[in-house]
């Protein structure tokens, strides 16, 4: 039986009960992200899905305060109605883990801390968390941050909690920064580039004044899996450069970009609808949906993307694609007892010289228990991480084992 508090006070009581009874808790909303990280070794499930209200939405102040269990799909619809969005484009990895789309919560998105293709220019969840309320592992309700978009009062605990996979506190309320949704978007597509050539083209595009918001490269085997006709019909690799903003600006910038990249003659433009679909596929790593082979996401300096990704894909008979101008390498590899963790991290270390890390995004629980889904930290950082956890959750009652064994 899960513990199911209805409000923040209930969540606080649950934590106190857990402390009194010496029980560890698995914190869940709708549970769609259980495939991310290690399986939790807990005694009870603390189900936060009933904490699902909108506390306040003030479009003109650019802020939204919600409870963690608020369904992301409902929140997104509410923001769309006012022409706003969460600019970090929260990805929906549910389908990647074999679940239906659209089930995730805001809390889950923030606690797993991953941003979509606009990460390059708009930042990730960390950059949009303004305030939170929660309960720490001392059983104390506390607040951090605030309800305004600009605030440096006290330590930025919100950033620390975002992406902490529920290992620091039970979040009972989140204040997020919301931004105007770009009214128009188009994507310039360049066909037929090798991975290496694509890195250079993306770097050039991102370094020109066209204000490209996202840049991705899909090698031929990935492009073939796209649901976007213009991409799958390309019968080859496609490099995508997204431009967003007001209509006249998008038109002008696409033209500018085409000019900057005029040496690449195989160009096409995706309209708003096709562009939206394509970037959603990239955000959600949809090309790997419907399979269960291990999937890795490597976070590297953008220019080393191809050197790591192509080499690993070729050597291990897998496939890969690149987001964030090459800075995110998504890699699907054939099944293996260790999901090729050793080799992936070895090549990453060789090629990227210690810059970056590899996260196992999909694998069976047994594999994830064995191979460290999150790249092991340097000794000093690991020790500091443990000390930080001790100061939030001394008894390790929140999601034990979720990040590190």
């Amino acid at each position: 039986m899960a513990w199911t508090p209805n409000d923040a006070a209930g969540a606080e009581q649950a934590v106190k009960d857990a402390l009194a009874q010496g029980k560890a808790l698995e914190l869940v909303g709708t549970g769609t992200r259980r495939g991310f990280g290690r399986a939790v070794e807990a005694d009870e499930v603390l189900d936060l899905s009933a904490l699902n209200g909108v506390v306040t939405y003030q479009p003109e102040e650019l802020i939204l305060a919600v409870e963690p269990g608020a369904p992301m799909s409902e929140i997104a619809a509410m923001l769309t109605e006012r022409g706003q969005c969460l600019a970090f484009e929260p990805p929906d990895f549910g389908p990647l883990w074999g679940l239906p789309a659209g089930l995730g919560t805001v809390g889950g998105a923030m606690m797993t801390g991953r941003g979509g293709p606009r990460r390059l220019t708009a930042g990730g969840p960390r950059d949009h968390c303004l305030g939170l309320k929660g309960v720490n592992g001392f059983g104390e309700a506390f607040a951090a941050g605030g309800r305004v978009v600009k605030n440096v009062t006290g330590f930025d605990v919100c950033k620390l909690a975002t992406g902490s996979f529920g290992t620091l506190c039970v979040v009972t309320e989140l204040t997020l920064k919301v931004l105007p949704a770009p009214p128009q978007a188009q994507t310039l597509v360049i066909r037929g580039l090798s991975d290496e050539a694509a890195m250079a083209v993306m770097s050039k595009a991102l370094g020109c004044p066209a204000q490209v918001s996202s840049a991705a490269h899909l090698p031929a085997d990935i492009a073939a899996r796209s649901q976007v006709g213009e991409l799958s019909a390309a019968h080859g690799a496609v490099t995508l450069l997204r431009v967003e903003g007001v209509g006249p600006s998008v038109t002008a910038r696409i033209a500018h970009l085409a000019q900057v990249l005029s040496s690449e003659t195989r160009q096409a433009v995706l309209d708003r609808e096709a562009s939206q679909l394509a970037w959603k596929e990239i955000a959600d790593a949809s090309f790997f949906v419907g399979r269960d082979d291990p999937v890795w996401k490597l976070s590297v300096a953008p220019t080393s993307g191809a050197a790591v990704g192509r080499r690993l894909a070729d050597e291990l008979s897998g496939r890969c694609f690149y987001d964030w101008g090459g800075g995110a390498v998504w890699l699907e590899l054939p099944a293996a007892p260790d999901a090729h963790a050793g080799r992936v991290r070895q090549v990453l270390a060789q090629v990227a010289g210690g810059e970056g890390h590899a996260t196992l995004m999909r694998a069976g629980a047994a594999v994830r228990a064995q191979v460290a889904p999150f790249q092991p930290l340097a000794p000093g950082v690991a020790a500091l991480t443990e000390r930080v956890r001790t100061q939030f959750d001394p008894q390790r009652i929140f999601n034990p084992g979720r990040m590190y064994a």
Partner: protein
């Protein structure tokens, strides 16, 4: 402003400390003479002064690490300092502590255009990062008004902002990685040229930690392609409410301007008298709204904003037609602080953030507070993000006026919190707002922040007396009290 009482035992060992620190940082890197120490006795918050016991100016990461490890070993307090431009007293020295100055870390180590980032040492000034990359058409976005002097290390410590941070973010949103030295001498790297945090986002919490968590010895920042065009509108309003409504309408129209600044009547008059840029003097509020980007976008949006301004009843409206005009619009705003300095012997700059909708109410209340205590207030306001900079005019030579200014400042910041805002939007807490932290945060909130401090610096040696109204008490904070409800440690003194 009370600081922790100096420890006589430490003061008595000064000679020993100097000798040991000289063994780590040879030559002129350790300052212990009165004249030399005097240069470090305050930062940008000049109302508070304290001569440090010793100043240490290391040149290498290894020296920083050894100095910190030594201080950790002997229990010596450390106040890190960049360029010393903090407006909140973040680097105010301690009588029984050392100043660890990072000024010699002044090199740009790498500019990586392909990955759009720069790796710099912490003593590099904010503006020199932009200067280093401007030739290739890039710039570093956060632009605090002290950018000609302030250091990147200080920007990281304070999470510095600037007039363009509504669109481009604060330091934390433009920071990719740091090399950090902990108080025990451990050197670590957090972040880098990649984007996803590896593990907990420790980089996110180090940024803005005001020198309480560690010493930054290297910084990797994002650099951006400079916008092709910048144009600005200058709009005057007969009522502050109308100007506020205009700001809200711009945001509601889905426009995030590069900058959106407001000045009130006194600030306008002071600025115009100083730089004579043609600001209208018959308005209650002046807005500068800057748009940047490709010409097609800027020309389109400038018309949209013009219509919004007219719709909100702007009685004065000009659009910059060239760079000279645009810079003219800004000249008065950028000179607002020194301009106010001309009409008053001293001024005290506040830094609260409020929900923008509460601006008229806050300004009215501020006028009442100002009249009640007899000190004038000039207001400049980062209107887009609600960050208010009231400048309290006072004369330090008049006995009691500094105290009155401090009290008025505290009342204004308390007001900011009461309307749903915060104590500081970009200047930091430092010593200045330390004793107001309990206005914004409850005991459990502050306990949790102090526990975080304990994870980095259990002995409380890094910048004690800043940010928190009570010193950290890590042993007590670390205990789990399952049957809560009792007041713990009521006997503890504050400073």
């Amino acid at each position: 402003m009370l600081m922790p009482a100096p420890d006589q035992g430490l003061l008595d060992r000064r000679g020993e400390f100097v000798a040991a620190l000289r063994a780590i940082v040879p030559g002129e890197g350790v300052i212990d003479d009165d004249a030399g120490l005097a240069a470090y006795e305050c930062d940008g918050l000049t109302a508070y002064r304290q001569r440090p016991m010793i100043v240490v100016l290391p040149e290498t990461v290894d020296q920083v690490s050894r100095v910190l490890a030594y201080c950790h070993g002997v229990g010596l307090k450390v106040v890190p300092r960049g360029a010393g431009t903090s407006l909140s007293g973040g680097s105010l020295p301690l009588a029984d502590g050392i100043i660890l100055g990072l000024g010699k870390f002044n090199r740009i180590l790498e500019v990586d255009y392909a990955n759009r980032c720069a790796v710099v040492q912490p003593g590099v000034t904010n503006l020199s990062v932009t200067h280093a990359v401007a030739g290739e058409g890039f710039y570093y976005a956060p632009d605090p008004s002290s950018q000609i002097a302030c250091s990147i290390g200080g920007n990281v410590a304070e999470n510095a902002g600037g007039v363009h941070c509504l669109k481009y973010g604060m330091t934390t949103n433009n920071l990719l990685g740091v090399e950090l030295v902990l108080i025990d001498g451990t050197v670590m790297r957090l972040g880098g040229k990649h984007l996803d945090p590896q593990g907990l986002d420790l980089l996110g919490v180090v940024c803005g930690s005001e020198g309480l968590l560690g010493v930054v010895t290297e910084v990797t920042v994002r650099i951006l392609q400079a916008p092709e065009t910048q144009r600005a509108l200058l709009m005057g309003f007969q009522e502050v409410e109308a100007a506020g409504a205009c700001v809200a309408a711009v945001i509601a129209a889905g426009i995030i301007p590069a900058g959106m600044e407001m000045m009130d009547r006194l600030a306008i008059a002071a600025a115009e008298a100083f730089v004579k840029v043609g600001y209208p003097l018959d308005v209650e509020a002046l807005l500068i709204i800057e748009l940047d980007g490709p010409p097609a976008e800027v020309d389109h949006l400038i018309e949209v904003v013009r219509e919004i301004g007219e719709g909100c009843g702007a009685s004065y409206l000009r659009i910059s037609m060239n760079e000279d005009e645009r810079k003219g619009f800004w000249a008065g705003r950028k000179a607002a602080f020194p301009a106010v300095g001309r009409i008053s012997p001293d001024y005290y700059c506040m830094d609260g953030t409020i929900p923008r909708a509460t601006l008229p109410k806050v300004l009215r209340r501020m006028t009442e507070l100002s009249e009640a205590c007899g000190l004038r207030i000039a207001n400049v306001f980062h209107a887009g993000d609600g960050n208010l900079h009231p400048l309290i005019l006072y004369d330090a030579d008049v006995p009691g006026e500094l105290h009155k200014a401090e009290e008025l400042g505290a009342a204004i910041l308390t007001l900011c919190v009461e309307v749903g805002g915060v104590l500081t939007g970009e200047h930091g807490v430092g010593v200045e707002k330390r004793d107001l932290m309990e206005v914004q945060f409850g005991p459990a909130d502050l306990d949790q922040q102090q526990r975080l401090k304990c994870a980095f610096d259990e002995d409380g040696l890094l910048n004690p007396g800043k940010v928190f109204p009570k010193l950290c008490r890590c042993a007590e904070l670390g205990r789990v009290h399952i049957h809560g409800g009792k007041v713990r440690f009521p006997e503890l003194d504050r400073f």
